[in-house]
Amino acid sequence: MKEILEKYERKSDNLLAILHELQDSKDEHYLSREDLKAVSKYLNLPLSMVHGVATFYSMYAFKPRGKYIIRVCQSPPCHLMGATTISKELMKILGIKFGETTKDKLFTLEMSSCLGVCGVAPAIMINNKVYGNLTPEKLKSIIEEKRREK
C-alpha cells in the first residue's frame, strides 16, 4: 500500500486516482477502512472527507468482492435490447442477486450506468472487459469460461 501511495504527490486532487489504484491492486476489489485511513493520513485530509468522496462514486466498493465483477449495463439502449432478460439470466446462473457475491468468491453482480458500447447492446463488463450482443446462451458460455479460468 505504501508503494502505491508514494507514487502520488500529496495533493488532494490525487484522491480519486489513489483510491482507484488501491482498489485495483487488491484481489477482492474493495477499499477497506484501513485503506481509507491510510489515504486520509497520507493526503492529510479528514477521514470523513475521504469517506464522503469514496462513497459518492459508484466505482468504489467497501465490501469484499469476487474475482470477477460483472457489471450489467442498465441504460435505456441496453434495456430496449433485452438487459432485463440478461439480468434475470445472470441471477439464475450465479444464484445471487445484484450487489451480492457468490459463495466461491468468484463473481460479484452489479448494475452499471451506460458502458458506452451501445452498438453491441445488451452489454456487460467483466472487470475491464466488455461483452456485447448478449443472449442467454452466450452468457452461459462466458460464465462457464470464467469458471474454468478461475
Binding site: 483510491l19 462514486y57 459508484s58 442498465q74 430496449l80 434475470k88 450506468s113 458506452g116 451501445c118
Partner: protein, 540 residues
C-alpha cells in the same frame, strides 16, 4: 520506408476487441508472413470505424472493399483469395445474417459508411493512432503549426472560432468562442483548459470514438485552446469506464511530448502546455462542468451554484474553460480551413457537423457524422438503414436519457439546436435510440427514471426527492397498479424539478417525462386500464 501495394485497415476498439479483432490481426500478420507478402501489404490498426454490431471489420485499400463479421478462421481465405489473387471474397460464411448472403460490400456506398462530411472524425479508422508520423501526414497538428508559424495572435484565434459559430457539443450549445474570450479576459495569473470526456449520457459514445480513434486531434485542440485563453495546463477528465480511451490518450500524450509537440517550449516557440489525464469514478452528474471541476479537485462531484461561472472561477477558483471532446475536435479544422468554410456546413445558427449515435432497432447501429440540420428521418433511414426486420417505427429517443421521445409525425425535424428547440426537444449528446412497434414507452421511461434516481447526486432536494417519487410512480404504472392521476402527478413533479433543481440533471428530467406522456399517452393509458396485468417481478 518501403512502398506498399495494399493496406488492410483493422479497427481496434472496445467493441471489436470483444469480437476477436486481436486474434484476427494476429492471424493476418501470420498469413502475410507465411506468403512472404508482409513487406508489400501493410496491416494498419486504426481507431473505431463507427459501425456497430458487425463484428470484426477489415477494410482493404486501394480496393475499397469492406469485410465484416470476419472470424479468425476466415483470415486464411481472405489472404489467399483477395491479397494474393486479387479476387474479392464473397463466401465468408459465418453469421446468419441474410443480407445478400455475403459479408463484403462496397465501402463507400452503404448505410453508415456512405459518404459523410467528416470533420471531427476525419482520421478515425484511417490512420494508426499509435503512429504519430502517420497522424501528422494526415494533417495532424497542422493547425497548431499554422498558428505558430504565421504568428496568429490568441485574440485572432478566438475571433476565428467566434466567427465560425462553433457551439458546444456537450448538450447546451453555448458558443465556444465566447467561452474562450471570457476566460482570456478573466483576471488571474493561472488559467486552465479542461476537456470534458465524462461521457455518461446513456446511448452516447461519440467521445469514446474520438478518444480511441484520434486522440492527437484532441491534444492539438487543447494546446490551441490553451494558447488562446492563456493557459499552460490542461486536464482531460475521462470517465472511469473508458479504460481503452485512457490508455490511448496517455500513449498519445507521451508520443507528442517525445517530439516536442507538448510540454515546455512547444516546437521551440516558447509556448508551454501540458496535459494530464484524470480518471472519473462513475458518476453521471460529473458531466456537468462544475461537478466535473469539483471531482477534478478530488471532492464529491456535486455541482456548484452558478454564477460565478468556471470562466472566471473554475478549477481551484481560477479561470477555466471547459469544453466537450467533440467541440474541441472541431477546432483544428476551423483554424486550418477558416471560419467561412466551416459556416458552409450546417445551418446558419448551428454551423458545422454533428456526430450522432444511431442505436436500437435499426439495421446499421453505429455512429455517423452529418451536417447540422440533417432531418431525423434521413439519419434513421439513409444512414441507420431503417427499422430492423421490416418492423414499423414507433419512437426515437433523441438526446439520451435527458432527451425526448419523438413520434412518427415529428420525424422530419431538422437536427440542429434551433429546430429541436421549437419542438421542446434538445440535440443533447446526439444519441438517437430507435424503437420499433414492439417497444413499450412505459418500460423505457422506467429505465430512464431508474437511471436518474440512481444518478441524482443528492445535493438539492427537488432532484433527490423528485427522482425517487417519479421512479415510484412509473413503477406503479408499469406493474399495472397505476391511476390516471399518476400521470399528472409525474408531470407536476418533473415541472417542479425543472424550476427548482440546482443543475441540468434535475432540470432536464421533465423532457423524457413530458414527451413520453404527451406523445405516447395511449401506452400509459393501456397499462393503467389493464389492471389485471400480471405483476412483474422486480429484479432490482
Amino acid at each position: 520506408m518501403s512502398l506498399q501495394r495494399m493496406h488492410i485497415l483493422i479497427p481496434i476498439d472496445e467493441e471489436s476487441i470483444q469480437n476477436g479483432a486481436l486474434e484476427v490481426k494476429r492471424r493476418l500478420n501470420k498469413e502475410l508472413f507465411k506468403h512472404r507478402v508482409e513487406e508489400e501489404v501493410k496491416v494498419l490498426e486504426t481507431g473505431p470505424i463507427g459501425i456497430s454490431g458487425k463484428g470484426v471489420v477489415l477494410i482493404i485499400y486501394p480496393d475499397k472493399v469492406y469485410y465484416y463479421n470476419v472470424k479468425p478462421k476466415d483470415v486464411k481465405y481472405i489472404v489467399e483469395e483477395h491479397i494474393l489473387k486479387g479476387k474479392v471474397c464473397t463466401k465468408i460464411e459465418n453469421s446468419k445474417e441474410i443480407e445478400k448472403k455475403k459479408n463484403v460490400v462496397d465501402y463507400e456506398n452503404i448505410g453508415l459508411t456512405r459518404k459523410q462530411p467528416r470533420v471531427v472524425l476525419d482520421k478515425c479508422c484511417i490512420v494508426n493512432t499509435f503512429d504519430l508520423e502517420e497522424v501528422i501526414a494526415r494533417g495532424g497538428y497542422a493547425a497548431l503549426e499554422k498558428i505558430l508559424e504565421e504568428n496568429i495572435s490568441p485574440e485572432a484565434v478566438i475571433e476565428e472560432i467566434k466567427k465560425s459559430g462553433l457551439r458546444g457539443r456537450g448538450g447546451a450549445g453555448f458558443p465556444t468562442g465566447l467561452k474562450w474570450e471570457f476566460t482570456r479576459k478573466a483576471s488571474g495569473d493561472e488559467k486552465f483548459v479542461i476537456c470534458n470526456a465524462d461521457e455518461g449520457e446513456p446511448g452516447t459514445y461519440k467521445d469514446r470514438l474520438i478518444l480511441e480513434g484520434d486522440p492527437h486531434k484532441l491534444i492539438e485542440a487543447m494546446i490551441i485552446a490553451g494558447y488562446a485563453v492563456g493557459a499552460e495546463k490542461g486536464y482531460i477528465y475521462v470517465r472511469g469506464e473508458y479504460e481503452l480511451s485512457i490508455k490511448r490518450l496517455n500513449k498519445a500524450i507521451k508520443d507528442a511530448k517525445d517530439v516536442g509537440l507538448l510540454g515546455d517550449n512547444i516546437l521551440e516557440t516558447g509556448l508551454n502546455f501540458d496535459i494530464e489525464v484524470k480518471k472519473g469514478a462513475g458518476a453521471y452528474v460529473c458531466g456537468e462542468e462544475t461537478a466535473l471541476i469539483e471531482s477534478l479537485e478530488g471532492k464529491r462531484g456535486q455541482p456548484r451554484i452558478k454564477p460565478p461561472y468556471p470562466v472566471t472561477h473554475g478549477l481551484w477558483q481560477k479561470p477555466t474553460v471547459v469544453n466537450n471532446v467533440e467541440t474541441l475536435a472541431n477546432v483544428p479544422a476551423i483554424i486550418l480551413r477558416g471560419a467561412d468554410w466551416y459556416r458552409s456546413l450546417g445551418t446558419e445558427k448551428s454551423p458545422g457537423t454533428k456526430v450522432f449515435t444511431v442505436l436500437g432497432d435499426v439495421e446499421y447501429p453505429g455512429l455517423i457524422e452529418v451536417e447540422m440540420g440533417t432531418p431525423l428521418r434521413e439519419i434513421i433511414n439513409a444512414y441507420g438503414g431503417g427499422v430492423r426486420n421490416g418492423k414499423k417505427f414507433k419512437a426515437a429517443l433523441v438526446g439520451g436519457a435527458a432527451g425526448v421521445f419523438l413520434s412518427e409525425k415529428l420525424l422530419d425535424v431538422k437536427m440542429d439546436f434551433e429546430n429541436l428547440k421549437e419542438h421542446t426537444a434538445v440535440l443533447g449528446s446526439g444519441a438517437i435510440l430507435v424503437m420499433n412497434e414492439d417497444a413499450s414507452i412505459v418500460e423505457m421511461l422506467f429505465s430512464i427514471l431508474k437511471f436518474f434516481a440512481h444518478e441524482s447526486c443528492g445535493q438539492c432536494s427537488p432532484c433527490r426527492i423528485g427522482t425517487r417519487h417519479l421512479l415510484e410512480l412509473i413503477y406503479k404504472i408499469k406493474t399495472g397498479e397505476g391511476e390516471l392521476e399518476d400521470l399528472d402527478k409525474m408531470l407536476h413533479i418533473a415541472e417542479t424539478m425543472r424550476n427548482l433543481s440546482l443543475c441540468p440533471l434535475g432540470q432536464s428530467v421533465i423532457m423524457p417525462v413530458a414527451s413520453a406522456i404527451n406523445n405516447f399517452k395511449e401506452d400509459f393509458i393501456k397499462k393503467i386500464n389493464n389492471k389485471n396485468n400480471m405483476k412483474e417481478v422486480s429484479y432490482a
